[in-house]
Assembly symmetry: D2
Homo-oligomer: 197 residues x 4
């Protein structure tokens, strides 16, 4: 497949995933302080410029998830670097979405993963060595390596525990934006149900 | 190519075209009263449900073109039916965009088309027979037939002259949303230059 | 009251009215091809620069009314001139909103007005003299004058019948944006009920 | 002044401030991970329901500041509680805006404040006692009290240093949203100049 077709399929998959989120009121409860990044990397992406994301991130307006801009390349930095690092270990993990992490979300994700036989995990940021934390760009490789070391593979759903200056966040990984969005929506519905009881 | 891939390529091509328009301040001058529809039909589309368009149309905010929603299917009716009708005569015309029509735009389009050897044309709505105008869904086939009869083929750029209750509008046709957007942007830049002299 | 306070009250009243519309799914059915203008003039406004409107107009995204931009001054031309002309006859009519006009909307508005003892009316664009139609800026004074001549006062709700190049449109007038929006929402709910039977 | 007028003035002042930000490309560089909250409290506000904020926060789209929603009440929690707490010590501080905090922003703010004779400060989150951090709603009073204790008054500009799970953030305080936005824009312009040298 040529480059233009790949670009279009990545953007189109993201656009479709965005409408799925916008049609899911329950997802509003999972929007974290930093808002939601939804990213999808081109097959041979090496830099964040080759990773597409929702411009302006996904926020909540009138209580509903809302994307203020189009899916576009270079629109994400942190999540783009995460997906590029992840793909070094798991060639199928092209897309990711982040969402809120609290004790209830952790429980919901664990149930969801055990039902489906999916691997879940977490990154303990307190273990990050000082020399890693201060060196530019060193954190991401360390974090992903820690995951692989602990779980033997990249978990499909994992959270980064809170860090110094960092909100705790969940990440779902998958082959494309629609797949990770489908997971996030299912988790959002279970979370809403659990918190409304 | 399977259906999902086709859907993604259509949505992604539209998303990319939208960012081209949003990065073009000159295009604001071509936004008509009814706002801009940008549509792209699936290869075998038979109904407006299989034609994707920018949800909410493209409008102007803070003086810049702005898409309030995502490219999505079923988001257009009139332009979707137009492209479906056009494709009966021209299998390559999958996408269309409409924009403002005034005397200066007409001149700019004629220059643009004669430079490139493209066919341009217009639909004379005053010739529309009464029995066509009143019958639901009869106008569109009549209009496209009139174009073919007069020009021997579907022009790449044509306008519908004003009608009873209808704003005059230009339409650009092409193989995909990026192609028609590229034409519209070139015309917008020439129009801005001409009107600012 | 000083000018800054007046400006803020006009913008704030518009912002509140927008959230009312965005919370009313039924209003989507009343959005016309040209999208919805919601305007509110400063007490002593003489030009469209002193009339505030929703930037980008109100459109529909994911089936819900959506304002792509903020209320701001100079954002409307046609509806701004309408409200300035109207106020020459009715000092209390500071704000206006336009919406779709079809046979069912006409019936709904007539019922609504007769229940409340409000004056409704229409402008017959076919009566517009040629010399008025061609002279820049002459149409609006003629139209409002025609209303006053026929009804003895400016109706609170009236429609402009379709014209050459013009979509038929309803207009609601009132003392502020919240008042006209309240009327439009009530009409939208009745319209939805009537068309869903 | 009655309640409706107060509500409108607060919303309108916010709407105007938003357009100021949207017209300032330099401000994009000051948007933090958590996006920008711009809040303005009603004169007698006691709860976040009586504090207006930009729904969806202010994010960046196509490189420009963008508000995805209207100013509305109940749209903020953290910044709303901050302004309510601040006002217990400074009756004139009705509005606030937060923005990115890094070493360069700190320098820019210090220069800005010393030129204007404004008080600036910071909250040292590492001093927060454990029993405060864990008790719901106890952090905010503690933080504002710490500011007053250290500086003798509420500084017009201060930052909260990074904390456990918390991004460091600057806050500007003022009598209304336009005043704090004017400060933030001036700081953004100086920051851009400094970082582009």
């Amino acid at each position: 497949m040529n480059k233009t077709k790949e670009v279009e399929m990545v953007l189109g998959n993201l656009a479709y995933a965005v409408t799925m989120l916008e049609d899911c009121p329950e997802f509003t409860s999972l929007i974290p302080e930093v808002r939601v990044n939804l990213v999808y990397a081109l097959p041979k992406a090496k830099t964040p410029k080759e990773v597409a994301a929702v411009d302006g991130r996904i926020t909540a307006v009138r209580g509903l998830p809302h994307a203020p801009g189009m899916p576009t390349f270079s629109a994400s930095d942190h999540m783009a670097r995460l997906i590029l690092e992840v793909r070094k270990y798991d060639a199928e993990a092209n897309a990711g979405i982040n969402f809120k992490c609290d004790q209830t979300v952790i429980e919901v994700v664990q149930e969801y993963c055990s039902e489906r036989g999916l691997l879940s995990g977490w990154i303990d940021r307190t273990r990050e060595p000082d020399e890693v934390a201060v060196r530019d760009g060193a954190s991401m490789p360390w974090k992903i390596k820690q995951l692989v070391a602990r779980y033997g593979a990249i978990p499909r759903l994992f959270y980064e525990g809170e860090g110094w200056g960092k909100e705790p966040l969940f990440v779902a990984l998958g082959k494309d934006a629609v797949e990770v969005t489908t997971m996030a929506i299912e988790i959002a519905r279970r979370y809403r149900e659990k918190t409304q009881r």
